[in-house]
């Protein structure tokens, strides 16, 4: 009689994992709002508005890093164009916020200011749904998803891999940036969208609205973490890792890699779109520079620093790199890019599994 040596299927998260998850949820939903809104400003425990804005922004970046991890860390496809999906989600939300300005713009017109400036009389066709919040929520996911699907279908079907794929994604984000820079495409040219006043007819610049957006971003990040966890814990996730390690073996085992790559690529792009939509109302501006090639590369750096192929790694990486960025760009603004470059080289050479990989290694050595 054979004993059963098969490893049991693990739960979605371990007990400590769930505890940490609940703690994070409480911090985001209760502790942070209380420290910001209820604790008096001169108290040591007060969370400043600057802090809320900064952490809120970094949580948006963390969603992107998580999305990057799914496609790069797990599937082995390095995208250097995820900034496009982030910006598309941001633009979809930005269009709605522009329409919410109503007659309060500089020109007191029903049309957004930049259209009046261009002497346009009616809304262009692609602004049709910008008045509806529900449609905007749909577009935030659907537009990046559709662009990713079409782009991915042709790229993966042609079996474009490795560095070639990275290069064409980089070209894609650059092309999109040039397109959005043009005034006649109807996205506000190089100024983009800004001066937002309201969301759902509620003023946007109040502390409580800022806090609400912060909480929503945090909850979204945690929800996406669970979604990603579910995806990679399923057999689906193991097929992705198999594609990364030996794609031909995957094909000769009867799996068509196209469907798997396309699915995770599209999901990843949609997550970035949502991150962009949460980002825009918090920072109050979206312009084509979000699509600059460097932005997309930064997303990859966050994931690399934190540690690929672990889901918590990229989130940690986004916090470390952007925390350092917000301090360094104030203290030594001219050194930031050198620091970023050095960090990327250092991590690639010495920490292939990132910070999380290092911690695991240290723990493993002790045990």
């Amino acid at each position: 009689m054979m004993s059963n040596p098969l490893p049991a299927k693990g739960p979605l998260l371990s007990r400590t994992g769930w505890s940490a998850f609940i703690v994070a949820l409480i911090v985001v939903c209760a502790v942070a709002p209380a420290l910001n809104l209820l604790v008096p400003k001169d108290s040591l425990f007060h969370l400043s508005d600057y802090g809320v804005a900064l952490v809120g922004k970094i949580m948006c970046y963390a969603i992107c890093a998580l999305a990057m991890d799914l496609i790069w860390g797990y599937t082995g496809i390095l995208s250097l164009g995820h900034g496009v999906f982030f910006a598309l989600g941001g633009y979809a939300m930005g269009m709605y916020l522009m329409r919410q300005i109503g007659l309060e713009g500089n020109y007191k017109s029903n049309l957004p200011d930049f259209m009046v400036f261009l002497d346009w009389k009616t809304l262009p066709w692609h602004w049709t749904f910008s008045d509806s919040f529900v449609a905007t929520l749909f577009l935030v996911v659907a537009v990046p998803g559709l662009v990713a699907f079409v782009f991915g279908y042709f790229a993966f079907r042609s079996r474009i891999k490795g560095v070639y794929f990275s290069i064409i994604t980089q070209a894609m984000t650059f092309a999109a940036m040039l397109l959005f820079f043009r005034n006649e495409t109807g996205f506000g040219g190089n100024n983009g969208f800004t001066d937002f006043k309201r969301i759902l007819n509620i003023p946007i610049a109040t502390p409580s609205m800022r806090m609400l957006l912060f909480v929503m971003t945090g909850v979204t990040l945690l929800a996406f973490f669970l979604l990603a966890r579910w995806l990679v814990a399923a057999k689906f996730g193991r097929v992705l890792q198999a594609v990364r390690d030996a794609e031909t073996r995957v094909m000769f085992s009867g799996y068509s890699p196209l469907g798997y790559k396309l699915t995770i690529w599209t999901i990843s792009a949609m997550m970035c779109g949502v991150a962009g939509a949460l980002y825009v109302p918090q920072v109050g501006i979206i312009n084509p520079s979000e699509m600059s090639p460097a932005n997309s590369i930064e997303i990859a750096i966050w994931a690399a620093v934190g540690g690929r192929a672990s889901l918590i790694g990229p989130i940690v990486g986004a916090f470390i790199v952007n925390g350092a960025k917000s301090w360094l760009t104030v203290a030594y603004p001219e050194f930031w890019l050198y620091f970023l470059g050095a960090l990327f080289i250092g991590v690639t050479l010495f920490l292939p599994d990132g910070v999380v990989g290092l911690i695991r290694k240290l723990k493993g050595n002790k045990a």
Binding site: M2, P7, A234, F236, V239
Partner: protein
């Protein structure tokens, strides 16, 4: 036509079938070929052949890697393929599994499935498994996960999202783990296995696919003598249930397992027969030893 005439006809047909021996064949008593409904996806081996290659040619930049190659394999057969380097052995496997498209010729799986119309994953699902020359396993996954991925099941994206191993499947997995002597390593990362163990794991993954035809490219390369011996035992036990095509250079291994050996040279069949026969063949000696 009256009922008694019909009955008389039926009686004569039964008597004829008995006389000609139909009813005892592998095809379950159906006369081969005529008026038999073909089920899509089913491998039709009623003609006694599971794989046909007919006048297949392929050239890379003017070099004819395969030159009018014709070869066929019977169901349950274990066929060994030998030949000097560059004889086209691996290219032939590439053609059968859909990795390389031939310039001309026909490749059929059974009598009805034209393999040239299918992609690599589809061919794998039809029931052709392949082991590569260099052991190819998923290094970052455990032995268990490697086998689970290879398991014959619905391999679409949605099916994989909600897949759970049922008890029959885990029994099968245990059985294969036992067969490939990796029961104790089920939770080990495949990347940590020895070269020979990786070869075994890859063979195990093929078994999980439950293929009708196995193509094995140098399965005992880098194995110890003991491992080689166990591999020979395994292949002999598979013979009859599966068809196997084994490319190998190890002559003593071939001697242990082979019935019929096919010698490939310059992309075509040079000789075919038992190992002793082909080893005595003048042309084979010439190719192997030079003029």
């Amino acid at each position: 036509m009256t009922p008694d005439l019909l009955e008389e006809g039926a009686r004569r047909a039964r008597a004829h079938a008995l006389k000609t021996g139909h009813g005892k064949t592998e095809s379950g008593g159906r006369a081969a070929g005529f008026s038999r409904l073909h089920t899509p996806g089913e491998v039709d081996v009623t003609h006694g052949r599971i794989l046909y290659l007919e006048d297949v040619s392929v050239s890379f930049d003017g070099f004819k890697a395969i030159n009018k190659l014709s070869l066929d394999i019977a169901p349950g057969e274990l066929r060994c393929i030998i030949g000097p380097n560059g004889a086209g052995k691996t290219t032939m496997m590439d053609i059968i599994t859909g990795k390389t498209r031939p310039d001309e010729g026909r490749v059929y799986f059974g009598s009805t499935i034209d393999l040239l119309r299918y992609t690599e994953p589809e061919i794998a699902q039809l029931g052709i498994g392949r082991k590569f020359q260099k052991p190819t396993v998923f290094e970052q996954l455990t032995v268990f996960e490697n086998l689970e991925l290879a398991l014959k099941t619905n391999k679409a994206v949605t099916a994989s999202l909600f897949f759970r191993l049922d008890s029959t499947q885990s029994d099968r997995l245990l059985e294969v783990l036992h067969t490939i002597h990796l029961t104790g390593n089920a939770s080990a990362q495949a990347g940590t296995l020895s070269h020979g163990q990786k070869q075994w794991l890859e063979i195990g993954m093929l078994l999980m696919q439950d293929p009708k035809l196995l193509l094995l490219d140098e399965p005992v390369a880098g194995m110890t003598d003991e491992e080689t011996e166990r591999t020979a035992e395994l292949f002999l036990s598979l013979k009859g249930k599966h068809s196997l095509m084994v490319v190998e250079h190890d002559m003593s291994f071939i001697n242990t397992i082979s019935d019929i050996v096919t010698v490939l040279c310059e992309g075509a069949v040079l000789a075919q027969g038992t190992l002793a026969q082909v080893q005595a063949d003048e042309r084979v000696i010439e190719v192997y030893l030079g003029r």
